[in-house]
C-alpha cells in the first residue's frame, strides 16, 4: 500500500520513525525510477541509432524486461548517495546533548552560588555595604557637692601631616599658617614635615583643643588631618588632686589611677557600644535596612562630698604652713561627724592630676602616711577608764613632773611642780604622767579593745586605693613591749593615719557613734538622674554620756592653751572642743628629734557639725602641736564655719573642775 506524506505505517521491527522521510525517498524512487527508465529509453534509442537491431517504441517509459526475482534498481552511474535517516537524527541529538550539558553546568553553578556559597557572598556584600559606627561613651565627670567640676572629659584632636600630599614648595607656607593655632614655631613644624617619622604620617600635635581643631580644619590645608579622641581635663588645677587621682591613656581608653578615678573606674568609664548600619557610597545610613545596635553602657558622674571652697582654703593653709615651718608634709581633714562625710581632704605636697610628675607625688597623705599621734590619742584611754576603769571625770590624781612605773620612766612635756589634777585636768593640761596613771586602771586588753573599736589598726572603710590600716600592736604579740600600754595612753608606740584620728574625734562629737567616713555623695547618670550613695554603716563605740563628758573636757583645752599664749581654739561666737598633739618620731640614727604636730577640733561643741584635723609632720621651726598646727586649725575652722553657714552658739564653754583638792 502506497502512502502519501504523513502516512504512518510502522514497519514491524524497524523502529524507525515513519513519515515524510520514508515517503520522500519513496516518492523520489519512483520519480528517479521513471527518470531512470526514461534515460534507459533514450540510451536504448541511442544504441538503436548506432545500428543495433530492434526498434524501440519512442515515448513512454521504456520497459526493459526484468529478470524474475530482481527488484527494479537504478543503474550504478545514476545512483545518488541517499542521506541516511539515522545520521541526521544523531547530529541533532548531539547538539541537544551539548546544550543540555551547558545548561546543566549553568544550573550547577547557579546552585553553588545561590545555595551553597550564599552566606559567603552575602558577607562580602555586607562588608561593602554595612559599616560599623562606634558609639563612644564619654568618661563621666567628678564634681564637688557644690557643683564645681573637678574632672571632666573633653574631645581633643590629634593633628597629623601627610608630607607626601603637600607639595615641597608649599610646605613653608603651610607651616607658617599652622604655627598660630598649634602654638609652635614655623621652623619646628617645617622640620617635622620635612623629616617625618614615616613617609605619609607625622604627628604635629598630639592634643589640640576642639576650637583649635576647628580653626585648623577651616584652613583646609591639603595633607593636614585631624583624628578626634578624648582627653581628661582638670579645670580646677590641682584642687583635691590626692582625692581625684589621675588618668592614663591605655590602648586608646582613659584608665584611672589612684584616688576616685581608680576606685570608680568601671562606673566612670562605662563601655563603648557599636552600631551596624547599611551605608551608601556617601556614608549616609539607609533607612529601613538592618540596624544592629550593641548599646553602650553609659558612664555615670560621681558627686563627691568635698566642698570646693573649704578644700581650697585647707590646701592653701597647708602649703603656707609647710613653707613657714619647713615641715615635711601637712594634711588637713574636715569632716561632718553626723554623716561621716568628708568636706575637705587637703595635703601638701600635692601634684597636678593633668601631669603627675611621679607616682610618689600622687600619694594621698591623709590615708597613706602613718605617724604617731601623740597627745591627741589620750581621750581614748580616758574613755576606756571612764567606762571600764571605774573612773569619773573628777577622779583625782597626783601629777609629778616625772614618774617611774614598773621600771619605766615617763615625764611631762614641760617641767612643773607636782600638782593635783582631775582626769579632766589631765586631758586639758595634756599630762603624760597623769595618763600613765589613768592607764593603770584598765587592762591592756581593754585598752586595745577600745583602740580597735575607734578604728585604729584597720581600714577606715573609705575605699580609696592606697589606704593603710596603720600599726596597732596587740597585747601578747612580739611588738607589744612592756611599756606599750603606757605609751599607748599618750599616743606613742602606735601608727595611725590622719583619717583615723579625724574619725576618732568625729565619733566623740557624734555622741559615741562612729559613722564610716565617705567621700561620695552619689552618682548621676548622663540623663541627670541622681542616685545618692547608700547610708554608711554606724557603730556605737562609747556610751553617749561618756562622749558628753569627753566633749566637756575637751572644751577646756582652748582656754587652757590661750592662757599659755596659743589662742587657736578660740573662735569668737562658737564653742570649740579641741586637743593638741605633739608626737616624737624616731628620726634617722635613732634620735627622737623629729616631731609630729597635730591639732584636732570640733565645733560648735553644743551641736557638733564640723571636725577639723590638722597634722604637720617634721616641722623644723617649732614643734608643739598648738604652735605649729594651731594657726592652721583656726583659719580652716573659721572658714569652714562661715562657708557652711553655721550660726554661732554663744561661745561659752561649760565649767568643769580641772584641779583636784
Amino acid at each position: 500500500m502506497r502512502g502519501g506524506p504523513g502516512a504512518s505505517r510502522p514497519r514491524a521491527g524497524a523502529g524507525r520513525v515513519p513519515g515524510p522521510r520514508r515517503a520522500a525517498p519513496r516518492r523520489a524512487a519512483p520519480g528517479r525510477a521513471a527518470h531512470g527508465e526514461a534515460a534507459q529509453g533514450r540510451a536504448a534509442q541511442l544504441r538503436a541509432g548506432q545500428g543495433r537491431p530492434g526498434p524501440r517504441p519512442a515515448g513512454g517509459p521504456a520497459q526493459r524486461p526484468i529478470a524474475p526475482g530482481r527488484r527494479r534498481q537504478a543503474p550504478a552511474a545514476l545512483r545518488r548517495p541517499i542521506l541516511r535517516r539515522g545520521r541526521a537524527g544523531r547530529r541533532l541529538n548531539l547538539t541537544l546533548l551539548c546544550l543540555i550539558l551547558v545548561l546543566a553546568l549553568f544550573a550547577a553553578r547557579l546552585i553553588q552560588l545561590q545555595g551553597l556559597d550564599a552566606a559567603r557572598y552575602r558577607t562580602l556584600a555586607d562588608e561593602d555595604k554595612v559599616a560599623t559606627v562606634p558609639l563612644p561613651t564619654v568618661r563621666g565627670s567628678i564634681t564637688t557637692s557644690d557643683g564645681t567640676v573637678l574632672a571632666m572629659t573633653v574631645q581633643t584632636d590629634l593633628v597629623f601631616g601627610d608630607p607626601a600630599e603637600i607639595p615641597r614648595g608649599q610646605q613653608p607656607a603651610a607651616a607658617a599658617k599652622l604655627a598660630g593655632p598649634l602654638r609652635l614655631a614655623p621652623g619646628v613644624i617645617l622640620s617635622l614635615l620635612q623629616h617625618p617619622s614615616s613617609p605619609e604620617y607625622v604627628v604635629l600635635s598630639k592634643v589640640v583643643s576642639a576650637s583649635t581643631a576647628a580653626a585648623i580644619a577651616s584652613l583646609k590645608l591639603p595633607g593636614i588631618g585631624l583624628i578626634p579622641s578624648y582627653a581628661r581635663s582638670y579645670p580646677n588645677g590641682d584642687l583635691a588632686a590626692s582625692v581625684l587621682g589621675f588618668t592614663d591613656v591605655r590602648g586608646g581608653d582613659l584608665v584611672g589611677e589612684g584616688g576616685l578615678e581608680q576606685e570608680f573606674n568601671a562606673e566612670l568609664a562605662g563601655r563603648d557600644g557599636s552600631e551596624e548600619v547599611e551605608k551608601d557610597a556617601g556614608g549616609q545610613p539607609i533607612p529601613g535596612t538592618q540596624d544592629n545596635v550593641r548599646p553602650p553602657i553609659p558612664a555615670v558622674s560621681i558627686r563627691t562630698t568635698i566642698q570646693s571652697d573649704i578644700q581650697y582654703e585647707a590646701e592653701q593653709e597647708c602649703k603656707l604652713r609647710v613653707k613657714q615651718t619647713h615641715a615635711r608634709n601637712c594634711s588637713i581633714i574636715v569632716m561632718d561627724p553626723r554623716t561621716g562625710q568628708i568636706l575637705a581632704m587637703a595635703q601638701w605636697p600635692t601634684f597636678s592630676p593633668a601631669s603627675p610628675t611621679s607616682l610618689q607625688a600622687t600619694q594621698n597623705i591623709a590615708i597613706g602616711d602613718v605617724f604617731a599621734p601623740g597627745s591627741t590619742l589620750k581621750p581614748v584611754t580616758v574613755a576606756a577608764a571612764l567606762e571600764q576603769g571605774h573612773q569619773t571625770a573628777m577622779s583625782p590624781y597626783t601629777i609629778p613632773y616625772q614618774i617611774d612605773l614598773n621600771g619605766y620612766s615617763f615625764h611631762d612635756a614641760e617641767e612643773h611642780a607636782t600638782a593635783r589634777y582631775t582626769i579632766a585636768g589631765i586631758v586639758a593640761y595634756s599630762s603624760n604622767v597623769g595618763m600613765v596613771q589613768v592607764a593603770q586602771h584598765i587592762s591592756p586588753q581593754v585598752q586595745n579593745q577600745y583602740l580597735r573599736a575607734f578604728g585604729l589598726g584597720s581600714d577606715s572603710g573609705l575605699g580609696l586605693p592606697g589606704e593603710t590600716p596603720g600599726l596597732l600592736p596587740a597585747p601578747g604579740s612580739a611588738d607589744y613591749w612592756g611599756d606599750e600600754r603606757y605609751e599607748l595612753s599618750f599616743g606613742q608606740g602606735v601608727g595611725v593615719t590622719a583619717l583615723q584620728m579625724a574619725s576618732i574625734y568625729s565619733t566623740i562629737a557624734n555622741g559615741g557613734v562612729r559613722v564610716q567616713p565617705s567621700l561620695v555623695a552619689g552618682a548621676a547618670t548622663a540623663a541627670g538622674v541622681f542616685r545618692p550613695a547608700p547610708v554608711p554603716p554606724r557603730r556605737r563605740v562609747i556610751q553617749a554620756r561618756t562622749a558628753a563628758t569627753l566633749m566637756k573636757i575637751l572644751q577646756q583645752v582652748p582656754a587652757v592653751d590661750a592662757a599659755q599664749g596659743e589662742p587657736w581654739g578660740l573662735i569668737s561666737g562658737y564653742t570649740v572642743a579641741a586637743k593638741t598633739g605633739t608626737a616624737q618620731v624616731p628620726g634617722s640614727g635613732n634620735c627622737l628629734c623629729q616631731y609630729g604636730s597635730s591639732y584636732i577640733g570640733i565645733a560648735p561643741a553644743n551641736n557638733p557639725q564640723l571636725v577639723v584635723a590638722v597634722n604637720i609632720q617634721d616641722p623644723k621651726d617649732g614643734y608643739y602641736g598648738d604652735v605649729v598646727a594651731g594657726p592652721v586649725f583656726y583659719n580652716v575652722m573659721k572658714f569652714a564655719l562661715q562657708t557652711m553657714k553655721i550660726p554661732p552658739d554663744g561661745g561659752h564653754a561649760p565649767y568643769i573642775r580641772l584641779t583636784a583638792p
Binding site: 539607609i286 573659721k638 554661732p648
Partner: protein, 103 residues
C-alpha cells in the same frame, strides 16, 4: 471589569505609597545626619564654654580676683543680728596676730 480596575488601583496605590514612604525615609535620614553633625559641633562649643566657666568659677580664680578688688579674708568673725540690725563680734582675749601670716 470594575473588579480588575479596583485591584489594579489598589496595587498601584500601594506601590505609590511605598515609594513615597521610602523617599520620605531617605530624606529624613539625610536630615538626621545633618542635625547630628550640627549637634556634635554644638556639643564641642558647649564643652569649651563649660571648661571656661569652671575655670572662672574655681576658688583659686575667685580668690585672685577678690584680692585684686581689695577684698581680704576676715581674721575675726563678726555677725549681723537680723532682728536688731546690729553687728557684733565676740573677740577672744588674744586675737591671732594678722602679722604672723596672711593668705
Amino acid at each position: 471589569m470594575p473588579f480588575v480596575l479596583l485591584i489594579l488601583g489598589l496595587l498601584g496605590g500601594g506601590l505609590v505609597c511605598l515609594l513615597v514612604i521610602n523617599t520620605t525615609l531617605a530624606t529624613a535620614s539625610f536630615a538626621i545626619s545633618n542635625l547630628q553633625q550640627g549637634n556634635a559641633s554644638l556639643a564641642q562649643q558647649e564643652q569649651v564654654l563649660q571648661q571656661q566657666i569652671t575655670q572662672e568659677e574655681s576658688p583659686a580664680s575667685i580668690e585672685q580676683r577678690a584680692y585684686r578688688l581689695g577684698l581680704r579674708e576676715q581674721q575675726v568673725l563678726s555677725f549681723l543680728d537680723v532682728q536688731t540690725h546690729r553687728t557684733y563680734a565676740q573677740p577672744s582675749s588674744a586675737v591671732p596676730g594678722a602679722a604672723g601670716y596672711a593668705p
